[in-house]
């Protein structure tokens, strides 16, 4: 019996043995939900031979995975958290890759008149004044942090029965908003790719404060010597290349551009 258990265990271990040129990259849900990763990953494999394994998580967890050395690099969008990551010595550097933007989604009846807002802060003030239900990610993700910073900028403390922090990813939060006919802030890519729009509609976008910068941060090999530094560098070189630029800028859903490449 002992031998059987041992054989089963070792078979399981062998079956998962590493194949050359694999690296793990933690990315945010918004990046993955946009569908852009499905375009980029096959090209990366073709051009560099690297098989990038994506861990799709919120920015908060992506940073944690990087700090623990469980991934080789992270691609996230929360400047403050990224700076903290670098200050702690967990990453080697930060490379800006591209940006997209956040939009306000709400019921098409728009009881709070968000569509007539003059700015992002004004849109939030209208939601608060109307006490219209608002779904917040509430999961410490980049989008959640952005939303909180917008409330702070609008000098509103989002509290009360109308403010619903669901503690879920972008898609799950959008599902909740669709079910409740609530307002929500989402990244444009996730919204366009979302399959269960229900009564919801895009109500407000365009304030420069809503731009959302994605940055690539390789994990520091001084902290975790097992990280695939070479592969991470190779991937970075590809991400800032002209090939990546063309793919990112040309990626459209329903004729709308989602991401703007701005790597230097």
């Amino acid at each position: 019996m002992k031998r059987t258990i041992f054989a089963a265990l070792s078979a399981a271990l062998l079956a998962t043995g590493a194949i050359a040129d694999e690296m793990k990259l933690a990315v945010t849900t918004s990046f993955h939900n946009s569908g852009l990763s499905d375009i980029l990953l096959p090209r990366i494999k073709e051009d560099t031979g690297i098989e990038v394994q994506l861990l799709v998580v919120g920015t908060g967890q992506a940073i944690k995975l990087g700090e623990a050395g469980d991934v080789d690099a992270i691609l996230v969008h929360s400047r403050k958290a990224e700076d903290g990551f670098l200050a702690g010595g967990f990453g080697t550097h930060r490379r800006e890759i591209m940006y997209n933007d956040f939009v306000f989604i709400g019921p098409s009846t728009d009881a709070a008149h968000v569509a007539e807002a003059e700015s992002a802060a004004n849109a939030l003030a209208r939601i608060m004044t109307a006490q219209a239900p608002f779904v917040s990610r509430g999961d410490d993700s980049g989008t959640h942090k952005k939303e909180l910073s917008l409330w702070a900028a609008a000098e509103i403390a989002p509290e009360g029965a109308w403010y619903k922090a669901v503690g879920a990813g972008m898609g799950a939060a959008l599902n909740t908003a669709a079910g409740l006919d609530a307002y929500i802030m989402a990244d444009r890519a996730s919204w366009l790719n979302f399959g269960n729009k229900g009564n919801l509609a895009l109500l407000y976008a365009g304030d420069p404060i809503l731009f959302n910068q994605y940055a690539y941060l390789p994990v520091n090999p001084d902290k975790h010597e097992h990280v695939e530094t070479e592969l991470a560098a190779k991937l970075e070189a590809w991400l800032v290349s002209d090939t990546a630029k063309a793919l990112i800028n040309d990626y459209k859903i329903n004729g709308e551009t989602l991401f703007v490449f701005n790597a230097k």
């Binding site: 019996m1 059987t4 258990i5 089963a8 265990l9 078979a11 399981a12 271990l13 079956a15 998962t16 590493a18 793990k24 849900t29 939900n33 394994q53 994506l54 861990l55 799709v56 700090e67 623990a68 050395g69 469980d70 879920a168 990813g169 972008m170 898609g171 799950a172 959008l174 599902n175 669709a178 790719n193 979302f194 399959g195 269960n196 729009k197 975790h224 097992h226």
Partner: protein, 233 residues
């Protein structure tokens, strides 16, 4: 109707033998069946031993096993995650976000379940066999062997219960596997992902595939084991 489009989706996925579907279905089976074999190898003898042997901590062991049947998978996932993380005690093995990590988590989840059910079934068998086996002056190992063999059909039920819990489990394997496409994505995590994307039809379709597969595996095991066909019971 959402349900109807889910059924249609499942139908098309199956008749076209969608490559991704085949891949994640096979991975689901690989992870869960491996976990089942390992867990059964641990839990069935453990259940038999608990039935046969009287020792001081027996009662408490049984109580703990019974309680652990209700282990929340996400907690197991978190514990395995922390242990296997690069900054954890077993980090050097590099097992986090691999199918092996998912197998480990599922073994932990289903061992208490299989052991408890096995113990329950074998206890009754033991009360029948007790006098006979004692009078034959058997060793403990022989008694365990006799119970395991003669109780094999009840033990099959115990293992199938373990299979049922493991195949439908999402909380633990999501945490320790990471739901990486072509690497650790299985049926349940794919369903969670598609639900998150608002693709309810596809998510439901995958759900029906999962149910169909669970039924197929159970039937297959019954056919192989020749249960419900006369014989002993």
């Amino acid at each position: 109707m959402e349900i109807w489009s889910g059924i249609t989706e499942a139908f098309w996925l199956l008749v076209t033998l969608d490559a991704d579907l085949v891949e994640i279905t096979l991975r689901s089976l690989y992870v869960t069946l491996t976990a089942l074999v390992i867990a059964s190898a641990i839990a069935l003898p453990l259940g038999a031993l608990l039935a046969v042997r009287r020792f001081r901590a027996r009662r408490i062991t049984i109580a703990v096993l019974n309680a652990l049947m209700g282990l929340p998978p996400v907690v197991v996932g978190l514990i395995v995650y922390v242990l296997l993380s690069r900054s954890g005690p077993f980090g050097v093995l590099g097992l986090l976000f691999t199918p092996t990590a998912m197998i480990i988590a599922q073994v932990i989840i289903i061992v208490p379940l299989i052991a408890s059910i096995a113990h329950q079934a074998l206890r009754e068998l033991w009360s029948d066999y007790h006098d006979l086996l004692i009078s034959m002056n058997t060793t403990q190992a022989q008694r365990v062997q006799a119970l395991l063999w003669d109780g094999r059909r009840a033990l099959l039920t115990a293992s199938l219960a373990g299979f049922g819990r493991a195949i439908g489990e999402v909380g633990a394997i999501m945490v320790v596997g990471g739901n990486i496409d072509h690497h650790t994505r299985v049926l349940t995590t794919a369903i969670a992902l598609e639900t998150g994307k608002g693709e309810f039809a596809l998510a439901l379709g995958l759900g029906f595939v999962l149910i169909a597969m669970a039924i197929a595996v159970n039937l297959a095991i019954h056919v192989i084991g020749r249960t419900e066909r006369g014989g002993r019971w």
